[in-house]
Structure formats: C-alpha cells, structure tokens
C-alpha cells in the first residue's frame, strides 16, 4: 500500500520537524535574550538551569498558566482566529525547506525535506503573504486604537516590503533556472564558498536587499513599527494575553527562522559545505547525513545572530522613513539587480 506508507512517512516527518521547529523557536528567544543582554552589558537569563538553558521551558509553562483574558469589546471569532493564522502560517512554510542532503532517503522517501515542490520558493512567499492576515485581523478585532494602528502599519509595511523581498530573490532564480529549492541549493554546491550565490553569483546586493526587506517582513527591529512599545504599547497584540500572546510571539520567531532558512538556501548554499569538495565526502552514512544538517543549522544560526545583533544596535525608524526607504531605494535597487543579473547571464 504505497499511499499508506506515504501518509505514515509524511506524518512522521511533519511531527519531527514541527517539534524541532518549536524547540528552535524557544531557544531563539533565549538566544535573543542572552545576546541582547550581553550587548547591553548585563547577563540575560542565567538562573534557571545551567547558563539559563531551561528558561524557555519555564517561560512556556508560565504563559500556559497565566489567566486567559478575552476583553468584552473584541470581535470574538476573528480575535480567536488571528493568532492561529499567524502561528499556522509561520510553521507551515518550513515544509518545503530541504535542511539536509536530499540524496539520503529510505525506500524512496527523502528524510530531510517534508515535500519537494517544483515551486517551493513561491510556496514560501505565498504562505508568508497569507500570514499578514494574522496581524491585520488581530489589530482590527481587538477594538483598540493602538492595536488598529499597529495592524494598519503592519499590513502596509508587509505589502510594501514584499515587493522588494520577492524581486531580490529573482536574481537567484535566474541563476539557478528553477524555483525548486533543492535545485537552487544544488546549483551552488560545486565549489563551496566560491559558488555560493552571495559571493560567486554576485548576488551580494540582492542579499542585502533581502536582508532589509526580511527584517521589515518579520516586524523586527529596526523596522518593528507595528509593535513599537514606546508609541503603541504593544501594537497589534496589545489586547492578547496568556497563550494567545505566546502564539504571536512564537509566530514572530518562527518567521525569523524561516527567513533565515530562505537566506541560507538562496544565498549561502543551503546544506552544502562551505569548503566544497576539499573535504572528502565521508563514507559513514550517519556522518554523511548529519554533516549537511550541521552546516545548515550553523548558517541559520549565524543569520539569527545577525538579527539579534542588529536589534541590539540600531534604533527604530520613523514610519515615513520606513515607507520611503522601501519604495524609493529598496525597490529600484532590486529591479536594477534583476536587470544586471539578466544582462550578465545573457552575456555569459
């Protein structure tokens, strides 16, 4: 029964990946708190467990145990739906990401990618664009002026920066000639660091455009206007408490991880080794399957590190500056990058 095997394998992969993803989210929060602490010359969480390593679990337990308040004036169906949309969309997009060598398969089922889709990149972009509704509906249904302002800002910001984000990826797609994430990764594999899109592919401008647009897409500092605490209390999730707040929180960090995965796959060579073929491929099957995952996690981790570093360093933009920057600089630069890449490819 082929279909049954397919379902069992897929279910298994989905469960494992979701659990790993949620753990990753929890520890990204810890990473951020630790790093920002160091940047601000303090320790960060250090009491629970060795080096504060158990802090995420305690935080999770805390948000479970908090009283779940639903304000009386909210529009209830959408108020309850919004965090689910946010978290759901944030978790689904990992499904098309190949995070290990796809050659390693058990009886035809790839172990390190939930599904290998021809249009993987578009799937990620599509799911991210659906994720806007979580934020927009949360703000609208809360019936609170700060929430509404936050969600209006957020939807305008996401729609504007999605253009620059999408266009910055076109150069990479042109080089790889495919929208399949596995093919894009494999197209950068041959000489390690030298053939990564960011260096050998001359997509370094695209990388920085992507970086900035992605920061705006995930509502992270310096573009965290939708939840700017000094002007909007907490922006779109002002009225949310307990687990529903935690869902928004987790969605934000899951989105960061997804963005990191996309950057890794498209610009930094994905699961391939930065040393290329200098190191011989290990014969041991365990080593051969774990090494790509190690490289992948390392790259995503350094991307997350950059995220936190930027958050600890840069002040917040003003809203008109944000819009100007997106439309006047990022978008034209992204278009120039496409023109440049296609001219270069045509010349070659």
């Amino acid at each position: 029964m082929n279909l049954l095997y397919f379902f069992i394998w897929s279910l298994l992969k989905v469960i494992v990946v979701t659990v790993v993803m949620l753990l990753g989210v929890a520890y990204t929060v810890l990473l951020e708190r630790k790093l920002v602490g160091r940047i601000q010359n303090r320790w960060g969480p250090s009491r629970v467990g060795p080096f504060g390593l158990l802090q995420p679990l305690v935080d999770g337990a805390k948000s479970f145990l908090k009283e779940d308040i639903i304000p009386t004036a909210v529009y209830k169906p959408l108020y309850l739906l919004a965090p689910m949309i946010a978290l759901g969309c944030a978790l689904i997009s990992i499904a098309v990401v190949p995070f290990g060598d796809p050659g390693i398969a058990v009886s035809g089922f790839r172990l390190f990618q939930i599904s290998d889709v021809n249009i993987g990149l578009l799937v990620i972009l599509g799911i991210t664009s659906i994720g806007v509704y979580g934020v927009a509906l949360a703000g609208w249904s809360s019936n609170n002026k700060y929430s509404l302002l936050g969600s209006l800002r957020s939807s305008a910001q996401l729609v504007s920066y999605e253009l620059a984000l999408g266009l910055s990826l076109v150069g990479v797609v042109l080089r790889a000639g495919s929208l399949n994430l596995r093919v894009i990764v494999e197209s950068q594999a041959s000489k390690g660091l030298l053939t990564w899109n960011i260096f050998g592919g001359l997509q370094i401008f695209a990388f920085f455009i992507y970086l900035m647009a992605a920061y705006a897409e995930t509502n992270r500092s310096p573009f965290d206007l939708p939840e700017a605490e000094s002007e909007l209390t907490a922006g779109y999730h002002t009225e949310y408490s307990s687990m529903k707040f935690a869902m928004f929180f987790m969605a934000e960090y899951a989105n960061m991880i997804t963005v990191g995965c996309v950057a890794t796959m498209l610009f930094l060579g994905g699961w391939t080794s930065p040393l290329g073929n200098i190191l011989p491929t290990p014969q041991n099957i365990v080593l051969r399957s774990l090494l790509p995952i190690f490289w992948f996690v390392l790259k995503v981790f350094s991307f997350l590190f950059l995220y936190v570093w930027v958050r600890g360093t840069l002040p917040r933009f003003r809203y008109d500056q944000l819009m100007n920057f997106g439309w006047r600089y990022l978008l034209p630069l992204a278009i120039l990058n496409i023109v440049g890449t296609s001219l270069w490819l045509a010349y070659k």
Binding site: I127, V132, W140, E162
Partner: protein, 172 residues
Amino acid sequence: MHLILFLLFAGLCLAGAINLLLQSHPINSALSLIVVMTSLAVLYLLLGAEFLAAAQVIVYAGAVMVLFTFVIMLLNAGREERTLGSRAARTVGFPAVVVILAILATVILHIQGLGAATMQDGITSTEDLSTILFTKLLLPFEVTSVLILIAILGAVALARRGDGDTERLAGK
C-alpha cells in the same frame, strides 16, 4: 485521492462564496472570499497548473485581498443595511441568474468528449508557461506592465485628490 481533494475544496469554495453573500459585515465577506481563492488555488493544482496556484495565492489572497481588508479597516466599514436591492434586480436579476445557471449547466453536461482530471496528469511547468509568455505573447505581456503602471498612477492620483492636508504634506 483526487476525488477527496476535489470534493473538499470545491465544497469549501461554494461554502465560502455562499458565506460571502450571507455575512453582513464586509470583513467577514472578505475572509470568505480569501477561503474561496485559496481553495481555487488547490483546484488549480489538481488541474496541473502549479504556477497559477502559487500566483493565485500570492496575487489574489496575499495582495489583492490584503488591500481589501486594509481598506475595510481604514474606513472602519460597519455592517451594511439590508435593503435587498432595487426592484429591477429582484424582478429581472434573480430569474436571469437562475436561467443563466441552468443554461450553463445543461450545456456543460451535454458537451461531448470532455476529459477527466487524474492525479497522474502531467503538471504544466513554469518553464513551459514562461517560454510561451516571453516569446509568442511578449507584446501583451509588455502592454500589461504598462497597464499596471497606469493603474498605479491612477490609484495614487485618486487617493490623493480632494484632500488638502495630504497634498500639502506631499508637497513638503
């Protein structure tokens, strides 16, 4: 498999479309339209049009409908008042809709040689689509881009007009 997926998402489509009519608050209607559009994307996928499925989600569900919800939120559109339309709509419109639907249904059911869709059907790859788009249909494609440019300019001009404050702010 195909049957289950088709029934599920066709059902979702119809339920969403009916809900669009029944809801009196525009934001609920907008959300049901989003359900319709995403389910249509799955149906496109079942018909082997994978690029269109992605474009449907990105363009319709992710951009056009975000614009709709944004406008609903911005104008704080409340519940609509039910007046059930003009007399012309009631006396001519509904019978006409029923007649059109009946005619369409009979014609569709009488078409000979209409094929079937299965899971094994080939998928139209993005390469096939773009090859034709950028060779045979290059002129329409470019004309569309001009159209979009005009639409952007028109939207900006319309949204700005008649409001002195925004005019002054923009001039500064």
